[in-house]
Symmetry: C2
Subunit: 333 residues, 2 copies
Amino acid sequence: MIQIPYLLFLGDAPDQLAAKVAQGIKDWRPENAVGQFRLPGCGADLGLTDMTLEDAKTAGAKTLVIGVANRGGVISETWKQVLRDALAMGFDLASGLHNLLKNEDDLVSTAKKYGQALHDVRIPDVKYPIANGVRRRGKRCLAVGTDCSVGKMYTALAMDAEMRKRRLKSTFRATGQTGILITGGGVPVDAVVADFMAGSIEWLTPDNDDDHWDMIEGQGSLFHVSYSGVTMALIHGGQPDALILSHEPTRPHMRGLPGYDLPSLEAVRDTAVTLAKVANPTCQVVGISINTQHLSEDQALDYLAKTEQRMGLPAVDPFRQGAGRLVDTLDGI
Amino acid sequence: MIQIPYLLFLGDAPDQLAAKVAQGIKDWRPENAVGQFRLPGCGADLGLTDMTLEDAKTAGAKTLVIGVANRGGVISETWKQVLRDALAMGFDLASGLHNLLKNEDDLVSTAKKYGQALHDVRIPDVKYPIANGVRRRGKRCLAVGTDCSVGKMYTALAMDAEMRKRRLKSTFRATGQTGILITGGGVPVDAVVADFMAGSIEWLTPDNDDDHWDMIEGQGSLFHVSYSGVTMALIHGGQPDALILSHEPTRPHMRGLPGYDLPSLEAVRDTAVTLAKVANPTCQVVGISINTQHLSEDQALDYLAKTEQRMGLPAVDPFRQGAGRLVDTLDGI
């Protein structure tokens, strides 16, 4: 686990989009961030208090989180100076960069000297078991998509937030780097060795109270040929009781796969629930999450109404409308 | 690729079963083995010529293949002496042991000194791409099972052998350690990192002649919760034109998963072909391979006839009956 709270390092991010990991932390776990650290020329601003390392230390920050993409695939010396100073002052570092902190000799030696941890959340740091399929107590919900990047993480985070607002027991279970940085822990499942994928998800979603829900972050799609194996492992390792179908209606083809049409919601529903019932015979599809960001308000409401009627399930854009109606569907499961 | 031909190292195998990898090489690629090397007390015998390292060198062997399981999870000093001698004489080493040759300092230094290769076929030695889903020329056949270890590798090897007997173009594509040692190359897909699984299978089964068939070794089962992600990646990465359903009818439950019933052949057919059509819309289920080793001849023939009638597809035990009728089904695809 990554120690909280964080100081969010925005570096010299050219714009807000480059800081989307930090934005995710601020949106979903504002209590995890004491402030932001910006270098001269930074074009991103989360609206948090700008802090020096000293300020953040005084405010109780434990970890400096690199919440920004770097340019050109190298960790610049400008960044390095801050990172080494942070280690020397007793911060851990956490990063989702492709360039691993653990591959930077100066950071490794500085971390060692001061007894601090380097967290590269893109790579697993746990020896996961092979899945055993044993049924676990507690409930689990998983979003399965027609495609990659259609809003599965957002759906799980929004449902988790709504559950906690209602004072119901819920834990968001991160399976990708952004989710892991937001919550401080999780499984970077796309970097796990094949034999241990499903086992890593069993490990992530252990026995729990009967009325506790794990909101598992989905990945990929059963219909995306590059990543379908990861989705499959989430369905079997996660033993979901409830599935949410996720879709983005304006996508011209599967992400990164020209020539591959998106499947219908019906096809995803039928295939996903058939496979999910192998691990959990009572699994059911309970709702639909539509990412309507590329539709106008009228178009969005029309699309949602038609989808709801066609599929016979609540169809919601949790960003526009909140996740209340999706959470309602879990009642009684 | 592992250089052929081999000298098969049986070591001090307690019995024939411990030498099943070597047996597989001898059964399927006898031309790849110049002889066998046995230590005092060896209880296995492949019926090949017993050779010293010198004999094998003279006979042209390029690689000493450890075709036997070791005891107690360590590579004994008795074995080590032979392995070091082999390296010094100009042999490469190949192994499917859990203990990697590359983790043995003396073998690494000896291999380096003599310029020889150490092949640990359980771990990938290629940086595989992410799958791109682009359609490839040539034809591909994949066996998909109701469970693990129901005869998928045997089916692919038997079909490949029958194809070549008929002077048709065929290549067995190994995806597990035994298959890799038998043929000298392949992808140990269960050891590949999740994001690259499907890509590794695309890499393994590249563009080929229009009338060439890849016989892809299947792994796991879509209905086996521990390994279904690997099966999924084979279905999407392999882009099969033809699927063979594989089944072992006496299994009381899914391998290693008490409480998990085997799926019906119908369920495997419907789910596998639905998912396979994502990558190859013309994919079809063409035949059924039944492992009848635990049935009498009468029981087996009865089971095969009933299955064939029920499913409307040729149902064959390739071990008892040969793979001819399965290969017939590929004609015209």
